[in-house]
Symmetry: C2
Subunit: 409 residues, 2 copies
């Protein structure tokens, strides 16, 4: 006999949806477990002023999922879900199972088990709230910040709606892909009955450094990516460009110390790129391929001499210097999803993720890129999403509490 988790929870007396019970693991024993705490250096703390996974030095692997809320869910249910998710994320990021791994033979295991014996692998779980969550379903319309809106149509967009949007998102990053997968899977499982996965994306290799301690990785075009990215050490720049401080018009108090996440699935036309000459490739990017030095420079971190770069080169057009100082914290990953059914070509590219204080920062840069970037010959944007990323939770609290918690208590 296979009891379903929902049946179990219902039989435990929780009214309504399972997640509304606020205690999904109350199966008759405490949720202390048999999991060995992971090595401390592998653990990124879940609690803090900001959510982890933003200024955290970028981990090697990504599992990202966008969720839609199921019909009929109430604000209480949504609150219950976010509480459960925070509780689970706290455990998962500590390298512990989401619930006791080995519990009652007649009940489904509370943790799916595939991360047993692995370290925490620097797992971070970052939650975001999409524009659609602020419609009339949960009474959140009045709290919707102005920058939280679907991105306007941008030049060169070929967006697939099935890979775009989502009421909620979860970004799980870890140095071990099985740990990231395990996190998303168990969060999806906890959310069953309340949310369904709308789309998901694996990223197999980071394409940005977010710390000066990290080497700059290469993207699938073979170029170093993110040389001039904001870094965790640049706390002043992060305060200016990434964190919502609540002191600008339109910055709601509930989002203070939070930020906005933009995701773009950027398909690279690998076969076309691979046939471009080295000179063309370097002119397109504005950097030298091997060293990563800007054109006209010798070393990767040499100052960029913009007058030396082709006017339509990517580095020149994307630079803060060309965009009124607009700066993003990029945190993207390379992906490959096998073959494109339609074209029989490699479906691979960059799953671009950026965090910024205002989505307009992304929009203005992307408008410029979409209109003029030489790189457009080799890429297309096929998925898109934007989410507000609430501040971090304090111990005993939960992500989303600043928005959804107050009216309850």
């Amino acid at each position: 006999m296979a009891l379903t988790r929902r049946a179990l929870l219902a039989s435990a007396g929780a009214g309504g949806l399972a997640v509304a019970a606020g205690g999904g693991y109350a199966l008759g024993r405490d949720d202390d477990d048999d999991g060995t705490p992971a090595a401390a250096e592998q653990v990124v703390p879940f609690h803090g002023r900001h959510q982890a996974g933003i200024a955290t030095p970028a981990q090697d692997r990504l599992h990202f999922a966008a969720f839609d809320v199921e019909e009929g869910l109430r604000a209480d249910d949504l609150r219950g879900l976010l509480q459960e998710w925070s509780k689970a994320a706290e455990r998962l990021t500590a390298g512990r199972p989401v619930g006791p791994a080995n519990d009652v033979p007649l009940a489904p295991p509370q943790d799916t088990g595939e991360a047993m014996g692995l370290t925490a692998a620097r797992l971070t779980v970052t939650f975001g709230l999409g524009p659609s969550l602020f419609d009339d379903r949960f009474g959140l319309a009045a709290s919707k910040p102005a920058p939280l809106r679907n991105l306007p149509p941008l030049p060169g967009d070929e967006l697939d709606p099935e890979r775009s949007g989502g009421d909620l998102c979860v970004q799980a990053c870890a140095d071990d892909p099985q740990v990231a997968f395990h996190a998303v899977r168990n969060l999806a499982r906890i959310g069953r009955g309340a949310v369904t996965v709308r789309w998901s994306q694996l990223g197999f290799g980071r394409t940005s450094s977010t710390s000066r301690a990290q080497a700059t990785p290469r993207n699938l075009m073979g170029f170093k990516d993110g040389t001039r990215n904001l870094k965790a050490e640049d706390t002043d720049a992060l305060a200016r460009h990434v964190w919502v401080r609540g002191d600008r018009a339109g910055e709601p108090a509930w989002l203070r110390d939070g930020t906005y996440l933009v995701a773009r699935r950027i398909r690279m036309l690998i076969e076309v790129w691979d046939r471009a000459s080295l000179g063309d490739q370097e002119d397109t990017i504005g950097r030298q391929k091997s060293s990563g030095a800007p054109i006209g420079g010798r070393e990767e971190f040499d100052p960029v001499r913009f007058d030396r770069l082709p006017v339509d080169s990517h580095v020149r057009l994307a630079a803060p210097e060309s965009n009124g100082g607009a700066s993003l914290l990029r945190r993207g990953y390379s992906f490959t999803d096998g073959l494109d059914d339609r074209l029989g070509q490699l479906d691979a590219g960059l799953f671009f993720l950026s965090f910024q204080r205002d989505t307009e920062a992304f929009v203005s840069v992307q408008r410029r890129l979409g209109a003029s970037d030489k790189l457009n010959e080799y890429i297309k944007h096929v998925g898109s999403g934007v989410w507000a990323v609430p501040p971090g939770a304090q111990r005993g609290g939960w992500v989303g509490e600043t928005l959804l918690g107050a009216r309850r208590r």
Copy 2:
């Protein structure tokens, strides 16, 4: 101007297909390069009696690709391709670029570059020849070994032809997914004009140990997998069960020290599995989830007491003791490919790979499993392939030479 590689090669005077030139990188300079040799301990030698990637301790990540030969290719072209591929694999597995990374500005870079700066990450590249290669196109029909045939319909098959078969296959395994991706991408690029990718599969976590030095990993059902697998240290067992020795009827000399590869894309019905009780899960597998011990035992490697296991448990039905001693070297990987469009459920599971001296070993075990395995409630086989895996190449030689080389010289 973007010169194509093929155009360049053609202009270099190679008649016919690019790959037939036998010197795809002859762009006017030696193929010594600017790549730093990788740390020696990260290098698995390409040359040897057997191909690497079989008895090699299983690396963490996989990129697998099945290729079809393009219409009109001649035996000479096929020979040229395999020679080029071997040469490239030798370089790639040594942690070197497939050709000079930074060459002529007017030519496309010979290496796509995304592995620059990474180690060899224990990369292995293993080549296989599919049954369809032995039709009348290349004059190989008389050399076709009897066990090299598409697997017969097996109980429970729901095969997708677009994820099955292939004239050739390449298994790239590495501890870094970007290194494995880079290898397949560059081999596909070298093969352009001669072969096209039929399907490909990423595996994000190994699900088998193939060495006693490795811990047993967990599959996506959360169970330790491959506890009783053949190990690299079991050289006698490998000689009996894996390597073709040429001393049995039907074992052709060209395949001596080679083997057969079976691939099965096994989709797990994750959502159904996750709702099964712990007791059901353990009865289904025949092991305890947390410890990995066989039912009735205490430790993972305790002897299996078959009389204690449910008659329809997976471990009992799959064991050599239940199959006339038939034994496979398993080398599979967990995969997840986002959502299943049709069902909206997680498309995840096990990309099963096994090496065996005779495909019949796999067929007989799978017939038994397909008919009775309790696990069938939770899985379906959706892709399938079989390839002959030639012996390893000697220095200066190439994989496939034992089949295709002799008639040339």
